[in-house]
Symmetry: C2
Subunit: 394 residues, 2 copies
């Protein structure tokens, strides 16, 4: 085997994640490694926790990144909050709700599922009905922004229903954090996890997490030890806790944390409300262009995520071939559909640093040109002008 | 809170890890992020698996990095191989053996401990006796290179004993991989995990792992699902498996994998036996210098790890103060003792890129000078000369 350094091609990442990583963040990643107990590193960790609190809009003391990808953030919530025998209501309207159900089973709990179609938001009435039938349920789990479908669910309403039935809530905010309004404290969400590689535009590999006191009380009151040593918050907190000496738990991914810190500094500089507005503006511009090309968004308007656009693939278009063309000709990555939506939708991400005017135009231009070559689509020039009109509105 | 980019101080990392990261590896880390299903990335993954096989000296098909730190590598072995009720013999001669015991409990198994003093190697006779008393044991777990004490245990002998008693073996090679001889296939070790941040000199955050077919059969034959979704090898393999379409499991830490690939390319270029010899040479040079300063290595010669040197702290020396001086004056990090060895030893790492002649001299010069200021130690000039003599022998 000939062996040489890997030189990745330069892509524009407009799939479901990872999103494009800002050069400032890549540069932070490459700064010199220091020890995970170095006083300079520990001071950075404290600042990072505060920046994460600002991004989650919470004052929760327990706010920190888990040293593994978003999926491990999900597992941290379930493995700590679910005790064997606990009944957990899981709302499923896409891939990640299904994964939550698996997590409940692995943690020894009993899942009760509330199912909605892939492409629809979680139905609050169904959740309420289910909780009435299961008064012994301890937890309710759902996804804020379903990455598999581009659907936003109504977090404050779902949290209120759960709380009325004395349930704690676990909320997946992997794709929402930094891209669309998320108000952990104002909405009362109890345990919320996210990922570094979506709207924060950091590299993949870390899972920001926050839990309020009520959730943490359930963790502390467990009868059985947490089924994971690595993700046991009782231990992880010894390293991340704010006061005094840090207890060694595992070797923190030092450079990845530099990068997450830098991405949060950039979010702080932009302002989180401005970041939400930017994601919304670019989404509306993309939508205007796609519609001018005759393409349709699958999700109904009220439930659409600005950062992830599910586009119905027109009849007669070879999904895989078209995505391969975009990648080969323009280095442009858009996402495929998953599960029942495979071959039926494209997932076009406008997340973090990928949510930029030039990416909106590139995507419309590339899709328009590729469709035209197949005798489909519409007037690409007109589509670009419509997108530009939206971008020009302030 | 004033918020700005984090600029880490430049350190020389001679503690128990992370070790210094080579500039080539930091540079690889900062290359443009691409998608985790990008054909270019998938080709890199295949090369990375082969390079890892070479480093582990194995032909195991299941050889890949887990997307989380070494501690998660440990958990991957236990959570997959231990079924509830399984009896597991755990050899404990330091922190990481103790952690293995915790992992057995979390996975629902019953640990049986073979204890040796911190600073001694695992005693093969004790293991044999214990297995005679527990003929129903399914697994034997031990640490090859105890990072908390600097002790190497005799892997092939321990594996042979385990196999004679029909047990599979789990071996912690976090600190050994790349630094001292490790022969996974020749020694018959069944499941072996490591970390990226020690003798591979990559950034912390990934856990290389290898398992032979016999171990994998036990995973496949499980009656109960693995207690972790994130670390369930049945699922992880769907993404990392060599053939056909990769199933989405989690978003791989793309840039961290660039860095691991680069570190393995560098190991390939050097040659693994040459890397082992380098670690040994620098260890002998450090030893010569430390002994000239009147310092003693805690571990007896036959069991010493070249990459991690446990040095007995002379009476009357303030451990924390001296380490702080080295950090403040020279940016030099050496490690503290853990558990019963806190305040009694320093742990001086010569791992990966940190295992260099200039680091040997820096450490001897800095320690000699600091001790002299306290009226302790020996002739620093002489100590440096003795180290240089060893470095000059080829």
């Amino acid at each position: 085997m000939p062996v040489s350094s890997f030189q990745p091609p330069v892509r524009t990442l407009m799939g479901p994640g990872p999103a494009d990583v800002h050069p400032r963040i890549l540069s932070a990643l490459a700064r010199p490694t220091i020890g995970h107990l170095d006083p300079a590193f520990v001071a950075m960790m404290d600042e990072l926790k505060q920046l994460l609190r600002d991004a989650f809009r919470t004052r929760n003391a327990l706010t920190m990144p888990i040293s593994a990808p978003g999926s491990a953030g999900m597992e941290t919530c379930f493995v700590n909050l679910v005790e064997p025998g606990d009944k957990v209501v899981v709302c499923i309207n896409g891939v990640f709700g299904g994964r939550m159900k698996e997590n409940v089973i692995r943690a020894g709990g009993t899942p009760v599922c509330v199912e909605d179609a892939w492409g629809d938001a979680v139905d609050p009435d169904k959740l309420d009905e289910t909780l009435k039938l299961h008064p012994d349920a301890k937890l309710v789990a759902f996804v804020h922004a379903e990455t598999s479908t581009g659907v936003a669910s109504d977090v404050p309403t779902l949290v209120d229903i759960a709380h009325r039935h004395d349930c704690l809530t676990i909320v997946d905010a992997v794709t929402s954090l930094g891209g669309s309004p998320l108000e952990v404290d104002a909405w009362g969400a109890d345990a919320v996890y996210a990922g570094s590689q979506k709207c924060l535009s950091c590299t993949p590999g870390l899972a920001p997490l926050t839990m309020n006191e009520r959730a943490l009380e359930k963790v502390r009151a467990r009868q059985e030890p947490v089924r994971s040593w690595f993700l046991d918050l009782n231990l992880v907190l010894g390293y991340w806790s704010g006061s005094g000496k840090r207890a060694y738990h595992h070797t923190a991914p030092v450079n990845a944390l530099y990068a997450l810190h830098e991405s949060l500094v950039m979010l702080h500089e932009e302002g989180i409300e401005q970041a939400w507005a930017r994601h919304r503006r670019n989404h509306l511009a993309l939508k205007a262009g796609l519609e001018a090309l005759g393409l349709e968004l699958m999700v109904k308007e009220a439930d659409r995520l600005p950062q992830l656009n599910a586009v119905t693939i027109p009849g007669g278009i070879d999904d895989a071939l078209l995505r391969k063309q975009l990648l080969d000709l323009y280095g442009l990555e858009i996402g495929a559909g998953l599960g029942p939506l495979a071959g039926r939708i494209w997932r076009i991400g406008l997340m973090g640093y990928s949510s930029r005017a030039q990416n909106v135009l590139l995507c419309i231009g590339a899709l328009g040109t590729a469709l035209k070559a197949l005798g489909a689509g519409g007037d690409t020039g007109e589509a670009l002008s419509r997108a530009q009109s939206v971008l020009s509105e302030v």
